[in-house]
């Protein structure tokens, strides 16, 4: 019998959900949620009285509203929560207008700044958010309010989607690319083109020339990091600096960006103890806005 060759999706990143231990939503006065439907990943965060109660991160499907429902269901799974228990829900992200259960939509720029302020505290002034299909550099004040921002959403160079394509090409699981890219003894020159399509061709050429996968990966990630850093420099990088979005988990990108900018980013808080997940920064911000909006509506 012919053995079926299994195709491995190296780009596939882990989906996860988590409920904070020791917290009871039934004792809370205000239950809110933020649903961030990104172009590649969807995130939902449930808050009880402004504290993270549970959250989920999964891939966005071909339909934004289905993805919103799925990610929200997953965040509620095993908690006994139902949609009617929520006081207010805010949708954000690329598909924010297609979040059926949301009372309101708020831009992801505002949500990321707000979320970063919650995750790391009031000292955050610069946020680099690297999502699936865009890169944003945001300046914010001590209240997590946006002061200015710059965004690249025209091109996959330096986005999570670009990273997925290269992981697939090099056959390195996406969860490991960061570590693998740092295993090179000497940092190679960046690939010459930031265009993912051309970089792919260049990567194939380098492999053929005898470069190791690690070296090619490092060269590509160097180019990605330069591009991201340029955006941060343009908006003006002020301390404290943080990275949110999917690439905040990519140590290869984080280290290189820090190196280029000459500035460390604040370390990620302990997820198990705090639930303050930088990938869910947008959804966290949305859930916080939801709480504020609900409280405002009560005063009226």
């Amino acid at each position: 019998m012919e053995k079926k060759k299994e195709k491995v999706d190296y780009w596939r990143w882990l989906e996860y959900h988590s409920v904070m231990p020791g917290r009871d939503w039934k004792k809370a006065d205000v239950i809110t949620a933020g649903v961030d439907v990104g172009s590649v990943g969807s995130k939902a965060v449930i808050m009880a009285d402004g504290e993270i109660y549970s959250w989920s991160v999964m891939r966005t499907g071909s339909n934004s509203s289905d993805s919103a429902k799925k990610v929200m269901d997953w965040a509620m799974e095993g908690t006994g929560l139902e949609l009617k228990d929520f006081n207010y829900i805010v949708g954000t992200g690329y598909g924010r207008v297609n979040v059926p259960m949301a009372n309101r939509a708020i831009t992801e720029i505002a949500c990321h700044a707000k979320g970063a302020n919650y995750i790391w505290g009031t000292s955050v002034r610069t946020v680099l958010d690297v999502g699936g299909q865009d890169v944003k550099a945001i300046r914010c004040d001590e209240n997590g309010k946006v002061v200015s921002f710059l965004m690249n959403d025209k091109c996959a160079a330096g986005t999570g989607r670009g990273m997925e394509v290269i992981a697939d090409l090099l056959k390195i699981p996406i969860e490991e690319v960061g570590k693998v890219s740092l295993s090179v003894t000497e940092e190679p020159k960046p690939v010459s083109s930031t265009c993912v399509v051309f970089a792919k061709t260049e990567a194939v050429g380098l492999l053929r020339k005898g470069w190791s996968k690690e070296k090619v990966l490092a060269a590509y990630m160097r180019a990605m990091s330069i591009r991201m850093s340029e955006l941060v420099e343009k908006v003006g990088c002020e301390r404290d600096f943080v990275i949110t979005g999917g690439q905040s988990k990519n140590i290869g990108i984080v280290r290189r960006v820090e190196n280029i900018l000459g500035m460390k980013s604040l370390p990620v808080p302990n997820l198990k103890e705090t639930g303050r997940d930088p990938i869910a920064a947008g959804a966290i911000g949305a859930a916080l806005f939801a709480k504020a909006l609900y409280e405002k509506s009560l005063k009226r």
């Binding site: 172009s39 071909s62 339909n63 025209k154 091109c155 996959a156 265009c195 993912v196 399509v197 051309f198």
Partner: protein, 260 residues
């Protein structure tokens, strides 16, 4: 006088042999992993077809993105210079040549003698070149050669993020799930490419007549979108793929003549 032009493209190598400035023979080959060998083979075949041997050719000029990989040459010329010369050769009324290849697009302005005056190049983004059409044909599961005629069936273009090949690939997958008509997706691709290419022409300033060359100049879908975008007629030579090689061979003739 016999001269030859070799155009070392990123995807194909092209060879043209001229006799007293008339095209005697032309041939092409995929660049593949060994462009030098590919070009040599294409050249030998072009010679055979014209019943000539290498010694008969007085001057060979090479051009193209991979010009340093040309198997042999007496001289080289820039891609823009070759395009300008070919543009004036194909159409005496032409003053602008647009060359859309696999990985690069150029717009070159030139005088009545085919001397380059100014140019704009896009070599940084795949969304402005032939690679885009190939990637989209794969995503749509249609033959590359059918993309153009498919797009002509559309009355409108799909809303799609066509600023980037990578984003467009993921968009196309969701559009197909939503059963969006393929012709409208194809048209969106050509419209986006035409937008990019025409912006280069506008940066140069409109200098008519405009001629379109390069591998993509054979695509009826792209031609229609570009005409619509520019709002003017575009002249297309019979074998637009060979424009660079023709330009190089013409320059070879000029250089050989000077040496005599």
């Amino acid at each position: 006088m016999l001269t030859a032009g070799i155009d070392m493209g990123t995807q194909r190598v092209k060879v043209v042999i001229l006799k007293d400035n008339q095209i005697l023979s032309r041939n092409q080959n995929f660049s593949g992993f060994e462009p030098t060998k590919a070009a040599e083979q294409a050249f030998e075949e072009a010679l055979q077809n014209a019943k000539l041997s290498r010694e008969d050719i007085q001057h060979v000029t090479a051009t193209g993105a991979g010009v340093e990989m040309a198997p042999f040459s007496d001289s080289t010329v820039s891609m823009m210079g070759a395009d300008a010369r070919a543009g004036a050769y194909f159409f005496s009324s032409a003053r602008t040549v647009i060359d859309v290849g696999a990985e690069e697009a150029r717009a070159v302005r030139f005088d009545e003698k085919g001397i380059m005056l100014d140019f704009v190049v896009n070599a940084r983004c795949a969304a402005g070149a032939g690679t885009f059409i190939e990637a989209m044909a794969r995503a749509l599961e249609v033959e590359l050669d059918d993309m153009g005629s498919l797009s002509l069936k559309a009355e409108r273009a799909s809303p799609i993020n066509a600023s980037c090949v990578i984003f467009a690939e993921s968009d196309v997958v969701s559009l197909i799930h939503r059963e969006e008509p393929k012709p409208e997706i194809a048209r969106a691709i050509f419209d986006a490419m035409a937008e990019r290419v025409s912006s280069m022409v506008y940066r140069l300033g409109i200098n008519q007549d405009i001629t379109l060359v390069g591998g993509v100049a054979k695509d009826v879908g792209f031609i229609a979108s570009l005409k619509r975008r520019l709002g003017m007629e575009i002249l297309i030579p019979e074998e637009p793929l060979f424009a660079g090689a023709v330009g190089a061979a013409l320059i070879a003739a000029k250089r050989a003549g000077r040496r005599q």
